[in-house]
Amino acid sequence: MNLNIKYFGLLTEVTLCSEETVPFSKATVSELLDLLFEKHPDLKNKDFQVALNNEIVSKDTLITANELALLPPFSGG
């Protein structure tokens, strides 16, 4: 299964992309983050939440969607 990861705000300057696809089998958010931290070590020091299906989820959530977003603190308005 392929998982599409979206990055926003400041995080796009860490990953140097706004989205990427990673090959991925059934796992939790925190297991996926380990994989992303290997790829982008500087992500570890950044403040962000994870969204699945348009909702913020906790790190122990099992990933069931095929898109996931890493969201730094919001700054709308």
Partner: protein
């Protein structure tokens, strides 16, 4: 989530005063309304380390943002006695002095709109994945942080 259609809240670039004026005019036919309240977010020329902000470039996780705007609308209608509500947020570049957020609430009576407007704006700031990249006059930038 209910079955009401999720609207697109985003407008490319600044929100013009003509757009805001037209939006007000459209309510003249809704004669049960006795009070409107409007919030306009304007891009501020903040100074940071002797550099001045020239514009903000907005991006968003659009699907989630529109879903959150929808949830905020629904929650606001439940909480307050409103006749109607409109929310518009800019995407892309908005220069200092221009409007980037337009929230418009209407009700038969004034007390509801004062409370409702503050609630909507605070909810937007807290729950909607929108990002502002603050561009300085020398083209350097920093990421906006909401206070």
């Amino acid at each position: 989530m209910n079955d009401k259609k999720i609207k697109n809240v985003f407008i490319e670039g600044a929100i013009s005063s003509e757009f805001i004026g037209r939006s007000i005019a459209k309510h003249q036919t809704k004669t049960s309304i006795g009070a409107h309240n409007i919030f306009l977010g304007q891009v501020r020329a903040d100074e940071v380390d002797e550099k001045t902000i020239y514009a903000i470039e907005y991006t968003a996780y659009k699907d989630m943002a529109n879903a959150k705007f929808h949830d905020i609308r629904e929650a606001t209608f439940k909480k307050f006695d409103l006749t109607c509500m409109h929310i518009y947020h800019s995407l892309g570049t908005v220069k200092v002095g221009e409007i980037c957020l337009f929230v418009f609430v209407s009700s038969p009576r004034r007390k509801q709109v004062f409370k409702a407007l503050e609630y909507v704006v605070e909810e937007i700031k807290a729950k909607v994945p929108v990002y502002g990249k603050e561009i300085f006059e020398d083209a350097s930038h920093q990421w906006k942080v909401n206070s």
